[in-house]
């Protein structure tokens, strides 16, 4: 109870700080969505654009502040038992679905079951769950098999969206007609979708937070070309460019436009970290010295300053600096071509061809690939760029058919959720584009991450993870590049858009337009 009170206070402070002005009701926001989402049923589809749009329609039990602290969502309070195995959630009373039916603990139980089938990440996150029960309509109790530190961090809307039981129970989830007109509890309701043009959401008048949302409508406009998106913003056709929707080269120019506000906030939960998969199994990159040489050969500050326009941060190791238990007390790899050459020579590299696969996600990544290629060639490596599109690159990565390949992955706030998976040997599986793709296998790292996930209290976890980071940075299983920042560009009249650690994905419930 005390905990709950403390939380409410924090929340109040946060809100007060964020909006010095009194919010105004009404208005329409035009935002860009790219690419066009395949569908909006968040429980079935979890790609980026779906999460971004559906975060307004659906809600999770919790939300997370910029420091990744849990905030009330559909659950208004929660308690964790002493042995850290039982989590009891109190649901907010009076919440209704868009169709008017009440939201209850039965919906939560149903959602858990459904997501285990349809949501791969949720299935993973719920792996430690022994059982979940609903003693009454507004209480849900999760019982874990063993303590699992990150468990409190899995309840945001994209990771565990709540689904209406009355519409989905007993149906074939994939073909349920409600998938086309999703029904959630969120601040906005789905109105129409003109394929290839826009998705329109309208205000939920019965939203469970009094007075919210402030906006009447949101148009998510679908504009496939990055340059056209920039022009759309410039010519006033859209007001919100979520992170990643324009090329980095355009960001400085757009930022300088009048009445334009830019923020890098809202990515704390994901903390995307870019690195190069280095194939640890075969070829030159299986040699640790060559991997270290690669780290020295690449001018990561150039990439940050020129390609990412100074946004982001040079990565020091497997964890982004925003992730719990991060440490920068690890071996350093400054840009040093001479050292790279020396290491290559030491490793006996004799000009074998090394295949480099850039990320097929647009011009920024292409340019980065070219710059890295040139860096490596300057250090004396023989690099051939392999061009693929997304499916092709996924296939190659899944088949381990590459030498060096770009990627960036979300870290989901906790090393147990988003970091360890990339280095532990149990996650070496053919056919995946994530997790331990590089084929790095170190029993000590396996052990450290296994302990870290279930250790209590946090101080113990910190010790374990810091040790793991040191070992990894020394071994260079992958070549860490940058902690990415995807700036959200808005017209300054759009207020209070980003209030939580998942940014735009958490919906426009607090946003308002200053007229």
């Amino acid at each position: 109870m005390l905990k709950k009170l403390a939380l409410s206070v924090t929340l109040a402070c946060l809100t007060a700080a964020a909006s010095a002005q009194e919010p105004k009701t009404g208005g329409v926001i035009n935002a860009v969505i790219q690419p066009e989402p395949p569908g909006l049923m968040l429980a079935l589809i979890q790609n980026g654009p779906t999460q971004m749009v559906s975060g307004n329609i659906f809600e999770g039990l919790l939300r997370y502040g910029p420091k990744l602290e849990p905030l009330p969502g559909l659950a208004e309070s929660w308690t964790i038992s002493e042995d850290a195995k039982v989590y009891t959630f109190k649901l907010k009373p009076g919440v209704t679905w868009h169709d008017g039916k009440p939201f209850t603990s039965a919906d939560v139980l149903f959602s858990i079951e459904m997501l285990k089938q349809t949501h791969a990440r949720a299935r993973g996150n719920l792996g430690q769950l022994e059982k979940v029960e609903a003693p009454d309509d507004l209480t849900v109790v999760f019982t874990l098999k063993q303590p699992f530190g990150p468990f409190i961090g899995i309840f945001e809307v994209g990771s565990l969206p709540m689904v209406p039981k009355h519409l989905y129970e007993g149906t074939d989830f994939k073909t349920n007609p409600n998938n086309n007109t999703p029904v959630g509890t969120g601040p906005f309701m789905f109105k129409e979708w003109q394929k290839g043009s826009f998705i329109r959401l309208v205000k939920n008048p019965n939203y469970h937070v009094k007075g919210k949302p402030y906006l009447d409508e949101i148009y998510w406009q679908i504009i496939p070309d990055a340059a056209a998106r920039a022009v759309a913003y410039e010519t006033g056709k859209v007001d919100v460019l979520p992170g990643g929707s324009v090329e980095n080269f355009d960001v400085p120019r757009l930022s300088k436009l009048a009445n334009t506000c830019v923020t890098g906030a809202g990515w704390e939960f994901f903390s995307p970290l870019a690195w190069l998969w280095l194939n640890n199994r075969a070829g030159p990159t299986s040699n640790k010295k060559i991997r270290q040489a690669i780290m020295y050969a690449i001018d990561r500050n150039f990439a940050k300053d020129v390609i990412w326009n100074g946004l982001g941060k040079v990565a020091t190791g497997p964890s982004a600096s925003t992730i719990k238990f991060y440490t920068d007390d690890v071996p350093k790899y400054p840009y040093d071509p001479a050292k790279a050459k020396a290491l290559l020579k030491e490793a006996g590299y004799n000009g074998e061809k090394v295949r480099l696969m850039p990320l097929p996600y647009g011009e920024t990544w292409q340019r980065w690939g070219e710059a890295v290629k040139q860096n490596l060639m300057d250090a004396g490596m023989n690099i051939e760029t392999i061009a693929t599109d997304v499916p092709g690159s996924n296939q190659r990565i899944g088949d381990w058919d590459y030498d060096i390949s770009f990627t960036y992955l979300y870290q989901y706030g906790d090393p147990a959720l988003g970091v360890g998976r990339n280095y532990v040997s149990s996650q070496i599986m053919k056919g995946q584009q994530f997790n331990n793709v590089e084929g790095y296998s170190n029993p000590e790292i396996d052990k450290l991450f296994a302990e870290g996930a279930n250790a209590t209290p946090d101080s113990k976890r910190k010790e374990i993870y810091e040790k793991a980071q040191k070992i990894l940075v020394e071994d260079v299983p992958v070549a860490w590049m940058l902690e990415l920042q995807f700036p959200t560009i808005t017209r300054c009249k759009v207020k209070n858009l980003i209030t939580t650690a998942i940014g735009v994905n958490d919906g426009f419930r607090d946003a308002w337009v200053d007229k």
């Binding site: 340059a227 090329e247 011009e363 070219e370 040139q374 599109d389």
Partner: protein
């Protein structure tokens, strides 16, 4: 031949075209030898405007690479793609058209259905799909361009052969006991050549455009610099740095224009009706 050259030179636009094309070829052949530095090398600060430093006369791109070097080295790739894919298309289209036209009947029917089939699929869409499937590389691009551009060649050659086949000198060759192969090779194809040459010069131009369009969509060979790649890469920054797109774009425009002019000049010079009229 001399008369043909005279015809070609008499035509001012053909001459201009020829000059442009010869210059483009010179740049492609000799350019990289004179400017051996890799066009991928980051040599200056990014977005350096043109005409500010004599070392990088056309400025630098988003990574600080020399635009001028890119155009010089890109000439080789763009022209080569144009030339090789056209040759490949000819290698498919000419024999197919010749066989269909010469033998006629069911062979003709079958081959023409085959050709029509390829013409029914929208060609740019097919090229995109082919490159995406084979994964972008100089080979897949050349193959895709060749695959979508051979049908007109086959049709043209077929039409020519069809009309040449009934020419009396071909009948004379049959009557004197020549084999089909000899007749196609010595009597028919040499006389079908001029329209094919005209078409080929236009096809090179189209192929260069096609390659640039594919590159624009990001389906170029990432290891080779081409003009289309440069335009594609520059378009996202066109607002800050017009020169990155404008110069390679002009290079494409000029060479395609030149090739078209040459094609027209060839057409005028090789077209017997116009030649007869002049007499």
């Amino acid at each position: 031949m001399r008369q043909f050259a005279r015809q070609m030179l008499r035509n001012p636009s053909g001459l201009i075209g020829l000059i442009i094309v010869v210059m483009a070829i010179l740049v492609a052949v000799v350019g990289p030898l004179i400017f051996p530095n890799s066009p991928w090398r980051m040599v200056q600060r990014p977005f350096l405007p043109p005409f500010t430093l004599s070392a990088v006369p056309l400025g630098t791109d988003a990574l600080g690479r020399d635009v001028f070097a890119g155009i010089i080295h890109g000439a080789r790739v763009s022209l080569l793609v144009g030339l090789v894919s056209t040759l490949a298309a000819l290698a498919v289209g000419v024999p197919l058209g010749a066989i269909a036209g010469y033998f006629g009947g069911r062979v003709d029917d079958a081959l023409m259905r085959f050709t029509e089939f390829f013409q029914t699929i929208p060609s740019f869409a097919l090229a995109i799909v082919l490159v995406a499937i084979l994964q972008p590389s100089i080979y897949s691009i050349v193959a895709a361009i060749a695959i979508v551009s051979w049908p007109p060649v086959a049709r043209l050659v077929r039409g020519e052969v069809l009309s040449l086949r009934t020419r009396e000198y071909v009948q004379a060759a049959i009557v004197t006991g020549q084999t089909n192969r000899w007749i196609i090779w010595h009597e028919i194809l040499p006389n079908a050549l001029s329209p094919v040459i005209v078409l080929a010069s236009l096809m090179i131009a189209t192929a260069i455009l096609l390659e640039s369009s594919l590159s624009f969509l990001g389906l170029g060979d990432p290891n080779l610099i081409s003009w289309g790649y440069m335009v594609g890469a520059g378009r996202t920054v066109i607002r800050q740095a017009w020169w990155i797109t404008v110069f390679p774009g002009l290079a494409i425009l000029l060479s395609v224009l030149g090739l078209n002019l040459v094609g027209e000049g060839l057409n005028d010079a090789l077209n017997p009706r116009l030649a007869r009229q002049g007499r």
